[in-house]
C-alpha cells in the first residue's frame, strides 16, 4: 500500500448511538459532522442482512425493519458486553432474535446467519468509516468512539472490539457526556462547575465536571445504561397495541411488521409533541386504521416515572462530586430525548439553571468526539480531559465478599496493587475473580473476568508473593499484570472474560472482516478510477475530431493512440495503481493537444470579438 506522507491521517470521532450514529472530524474552524452519501448526518444504528449476504446499514436498513424484520436489528447497543441473563427484560420489549449458544456471548440471528452485538456495531462503524473515506477520498484508519459514561468494563471492551472488527484502530473510548462538554467549548467562557445531562435512545448519563483553563476534570458520574427514549417508545407502543387489540379485535403484537409500523407511529407522535401541544398516533395497516389523540398533558403524565428515574442518579452524582447544587454554573443537555419539554423542565427544576440547548442534542457527542480526536492528533493543544471510572473495581475474597481496589469516580488512568499468596503447599495457580460494582457481596456485583495466575513456583503455603497490578486505562478498560515479588519475574495472566469475546474470537472476526473491508475499499477506489478513465477517454475521443488534433506531429498523435489503448487494456483489471498510471500517461500525452485546443479557442474568441 502506498503511503502519502504529505497528507495527515484523518482521525474521526464517532458517536455510536443506540438509535443513531454519527461521524465527525476536526477541520480548521472546529468540529464538523460528515454526512452520509444520502446527505443525512444521522446514520440510524439499524443493520439488515440480506439473503445474498449483503449488509444494509442506516436509513435503508430502517426501511427494511418494516418489510424484513427477521433480517433486521435495531438498538443492538443494549446488548453490548452483556450476558443472556442480563437482557431478559430487553428480550420482552425488543424483537431481538437470540440464536442458540448465546450463553457466554449473545448471538443474534439475522436471516440465515448469526452475529454477536460487537459485529452488528461493527457494521454501523464500517458504514461511518466509509462515509468518512468517501468525504476525504482517503482511508480513515483511526477513530475515537464514544460510550455511555456508565458503561462497565465489558461494555467498553465490546465497543472496542466492534471498532477493531470494523477495521478501525480505536485510539480512545470517550464518555459521551464528557465529549459533549468538549463540543460546547464552555471552557472558553469561564472556569466553573458544569453538569451534563445525557438522555439518549437507550442510556442515561449524568456527569459533573470542573473546568479550569482548558482542563475538563470529571468530578463524578452516574447513570443508568438501560434508560432512554426507547423506554418511552415502548410505553406508548404498549398502550397503542392495547388500543388496537380492542378496536380491531386483533392482536398485532405477534405481527412483526405491524408492530414496527406502530412503533414508528408512536415515535413520530412523541417527537411531534416536543413542538406542538397536541398530536395523534396514526396507523394505516392492511386496510385498517387506528388513530389516537395524544396531548402533551397526558404524555407528560405517562412519562413522568421515566423522567423521575433520571433524577436519583443526578442527586447521587452531585453528592459524589462534593458540590452543592448552587455551585453548578451550567447544565448541558445531550441526547435526542432532552428535546422533550418535560425533561427540560425537570432538569431546570433540579439544578435551578436554564440548561444549554444551543447545539443539536443529536450531534453534540460526535462533535465532542472529533475534538478529542483533535487532542490526540495534537491539533488541539489547549484542552485536556480527565475522566473517571464510573464503577468501583474489586476482587472476590473469602466468603464471597468484595474487597474494593479502585473506587468509583477515581480519575483514570488509575491503579492498585494487591499481593496474593498460596493457601496450600506446592500450589501452582491462584485464581482471581474481578468484579465491578458498589455492593458488598460478589453476587450483587458484576463479574468482569477471572484471572488465572499460572506457573507459580511450588513453595510452602503462604510463601509465594505475587504482586498483581490492576490498571484502568484512559479508556476505562482494565489491564492486569502480575509480578513475582521474590524473583521479579513477570507472571502470565490468563484472562477469561465473564461476558464478551475472547481475544482469539475478535482476531478471527477481524481477519474475516479486514479482508472484506480492504476488498471493499479497493473496489470503491477502482470504480472511482474507472469513472475518471471514462471521462478522459471521452474527452480525448471528442478532441480527435478537433482541428487542433491535426496540428500535432505524427509522433504526438501516435503517443496519444498508444496511451488510449494501454488505458483501455488495464481498464477492466482490478489494478488500481495501473489504471491510475495509465490515466496519468494519457494526461501527459494529451497536454500539447489541450494546449493547442486552448489556443484555437482563444483565437476563435479573438476573431469573434472583431466581428
Amino acid at each position: 500500500m502506498e503511503i502519502d506522507f504529505g497528507v495527515p491521517v484523518h482521525i474521526v470521532g464517532i458517536d455510536l448511538g443506540t438509535t443513531n450514529s454519527l461521524v465527525a472530524f476536526m477541520d480548521l474552524t472546529g468540529p464538523r459532522i460528515i454526512p452520509g452519501a444520502d446527505g443525512d448526518k444521522l446514520v440510524p444504528s439499524v443493520v439488515s442482512v440480506q439473503r445474498s449476504g449483503d449488509v444494509v446499514v442506516g436509513n435503508p436498513a430502517r426501511e427494511l425493519l418494516l418489510t424484513q424484520p427477521a433480517r433486521t436489528v435495531y438498538s443492538a447497543k443494549r446488548l453490548m458486553g452483556r450476558g443472556l441473563a442480563d437482557v431478559q427484560e430487553e428480550l420482552k420489549l425488543f424483537p431481538f432474535h437470540i440464536a442458540p449458544g448465546s450463553e457466554s456471548v449473545i448471538q443474534l440471528k439475522l436471516g440465515e446467519r448469526t452475529f454477536t452485538p460487537p459485529e452488528i456495531s461493527a457494521f454501523v462503524l464500517r458504514q461511518l468509516k466509509q462515509n468518512a473515506e468517501g468525504y476525504f477520498g482517503a482511508e480513515v484508519p483511526k477513530a475515537v468512539i464514544t460510550v455511555p459514561a456508565y458503561f462497565n468494563d465489558a461494555q467498553r471492551q465490546a465497543t472496542k472490539d466492534a471498532g477493531r472488527i470494523a477495521g478501525l484502530e480505536v485510539l480512545r473510548l470517550v464518555n459521551e457526556p464528557t465529549a459533549a462538554s468538549l463540543a460546547y467549548g464552555l471552557d472558553k467562557r469561564k472556569n466553573g462547575i458544569v453538569a451534563v445531562y445525557d438522555l439518549g435512545g437507550g442510556t442515561f448519563d449524568i456527569s459533573i465536571l470542573k473546568l479550569q483553563d482548558g482542563i475538563f476534570e470529571v468530578l463524578a458520574t452516574n447513570g443508568d445504561t438501560h434508560l432512554g427514549g426507547d423506554d418511552i417508545d415502548n410505553l406508548l407502543l404498549k398502550i397503542a397495541l392495547e388500543d388496537v387489540a380492542s378496536e380491531w379485535g386483533a392482536d398485532l403484537s405477534r405481527d412483526n411488521e405491524g408492530v414496527q409500523r406502530l412503533r414508528r407511529a408512536v415515535i413520530h407522535a412523541k417527537e411531534r409533541l416536543s413542538f406542538v401541544p397536541q398530536t395523534s398516533i396514526e396507523l394505516d395497516y392492511r386496510g385498517k386504521t387506528y388513530q389516537r389523540e395524544l396531548n402533551r398533558e397526558l404524555f407528560d403524565k405517562l412519562i413522568t416515572p421515566i423522567v423521575d428515574r433520571t433524577l436519583g442518579p443526578c442527586r447521587d452524582c452531585i453528592k459524589d462530586a462534593g458540590v452543592k447544587i448552587d455551585q453548578i454554573d451550567e447544565v448541558v443537555m445531550v441526547g435526542g430525548s432532552t428535546r422533550i419539554p418535560l425533561v427540560l423542565t425537570a432538569v431546570e427544576n433540579l439544578f435551578r439553571v436554564v440548561p444549554h440547548t444551543e447545539l443539536n442534542p443529536d450531534e453534540v457527542v460526535a462533535l465532542g468526539a472529533a475534538v478529542q480526536a483533535g487532542i490526540l492528533s495534537g491539533a488541539v493543544e489547549d484542552k485536556l480531559l480527565l475522566d473517571v471510572t464510573p464503577l468501583s473495581l474489586g476482587i472476590e475474597t473469602m466468603g464471597g465478599v468484595v474487597s474494593k481496589l479502585i473506587h468509583r469516580n477515581s480519575t483514570i488512568p488509575a491503579s492498585a496493587t494487591e499481593t496474593f499468596t498460596t493457601g496450600v503447599d506446592g500450589q501452582r495457580n491462584v485464581l482471581i475473580h474481578v468484579v465491578q460494582g458498589e455492593r458488598e457481596l460478589v453476587k450483587d456485583c458484576r463479574s468482569l473476568a477471572r484471572f488465572d495466575l499460572k506457573d507459580i513456583d511450588p513453595l510452602p503455603a503462604g510463601m509465594a508473593r505475587i504482586d498483581v497490578r490492576f490498571l484502568i486505562d484512559a479508556n476505562g478498560i482494565l489491564n492486569v499484570t502480575a509480578r513475582d515479588e521474590r524473583t521479579g519475574k513477570e507472571h502470565s495472566v490468563d484472562v477469561k472474560p465473564s461476558y464478551g469475546l475472547t481475544d482469539e474470537q475478535v482476531e478471527t472476526m477481524i481477519r474475516d472482516s479486514i479482508e472484506k473491508a480492504d476488498q471493499d475499499f479497493n473496489e470503491r477506489q477502482v470504480r472511482e478510477a474507472r469513472v475518471e478513465a471514462d471521462t478522459i477517454l471521452a474527452a480525448v475521443e471528442k478532441a480527435r475530431r478537433h482541428d487542433a488534433y491535426f496540428e500535432l506531429s505524427d509522433d504526438e498523435r501516435a503517443a496519444i493512440d498508444r496511451s488510449m489503448n494501454e488505458l483501455l487494456l488495464v481498464y477492466h483489471s482490478d489494478q488500481l495503481g495501473l489504471i491510475r498510471q495509465k490515466i496519468e500517461q494519457l494526461n501527459q500525452a494529451t497536454l500539447k493537444l489541450a494546449e493547442n485546443m486552448m489556443n484555437t479557442a482563444v483565437r476563435g474568441a479573438l476573431k469573434g470579438s472583431k466581428i
Binding site: 485510539l171 480512545r172 479550569q212 483553563d213 482542563i215 476534570e217 487532542i375 490526540l376 492528533s377 495534537g378 485536556l384 480531559l385 480527565l386 477515581s410 480519575t411 483514570i412 488512568p413 488509575a414 491503579s415 492498585a416 490498571l471 484502568i472 486505562d473 484512559a474
Partner: protein, 179 residues
C-alpha cells in the same frame, strides 16, 4: 519517582495546601497524560500510562489529610495493612459495651433504646471532633520536627478514629431507616 510527595515536588509534610496540590496536579497532567503521547512510540505511550496512573493515585493519596497521614505512615515503615478495628481502645470499653447492648435491642425491634443510641451518636461525634483536633496538633508537630515518635502517636490516634468511625457507621445505619 520514589514516592508521591516527590512526584508532586512537595516535601514530606502532613499539612499542605490543597489548592497548590490541585494546580500541580493539573500541570503534571498536561505533561504526563496518555493523550499527549499518541504520536509517540509504544514504549513512551506505556510510560505515559504508568506515570499518569501514578499521578492520579498520588493525588488520591495526598488530597485528604487522613489518607495523606496513612500514606506517610506506610512510607515511614508503619504496617497499615492489618490496622483493623477489632481491639477496643481500653478507655472506650464501657461505652462500647453499653452501645452494643443498645444496638442489639434496636435490632430486635425494641425502639426504647433509640434515645440512648442518639445520645451515643452525639458522644462519638464529639469524640471525632476531639480526635481531629488532636491530629491537627500532631500533624503540625510532625511538620516542624519529623520523627518516628510523633508518627507512632498519629498512628494510635488514627486507629482510634477508624474504630469510632465504624461505630458511628453502625449507629447511623440503625437510626437512619426510621428517619
Amino acid at each position: 519517582m520514589n514516592d508521591y510527595f516527590e512526584l508532586f515536588g512537595l516535601p514530606r509534610k502532613l499539612n499542605l495546601s490543597v489548592d497548590d496540590l490541585q494546580q500541580r496536579y493539573y500541570r503534571l497532567s498536561r505533561e504526563l497524560h496518555p493523550d499527549r503521547f499518541m504520536n509517540k512510540p509504544q514504549a513512551e505511550q506505556q510510560r505515559a500510562l504508568e506515570m499518569s496512573s501514578a499521578l492520579n493515585d498520588a493525588r488520591r493519596a495526598l488530597q485528604e489529610p487522613i489518607k495523606r497521614a496513612q500514606y506517610l505512615l506506610e512510607l515511614e515503615g508503619f504496617d497499615m495493612g492489618e490496622q483493623r478495628s477489632k481491639d477496643v481502645p481500653p478507655e472506650l470499653l464501657e461505652e462500647v459495651f453499653e452501645l452494643n447492648m443498645a444496638l442489639e435491642e434496636m435490632r430486635s425491634g425494641d425502639d426504647s433504646a433509640r434515645p440512648q443510641l442518639e445520645q451515643a451518636e452525639k458522644n462519638f461525634a464529639g469524640m471525632m471532633n476531639d480526635i481531629d483536633g488532636q491530629l491537627q496538633t500532631l500533624f503540625a508537630q510532625y511538620d516542624a520536627a519529623p520523627g518516628q515518635e510523633v508518627l507512632g502517636k498519629i498512628r494510635g490516634v488514627l486507629n482510634r478514629r477508624k474504630y469510632i468511625q465504624n461505630l458511628l457507621g453502625e449507629v447511623h445505619a440503625e437510626l437512619a431507616p426510621a428517619n
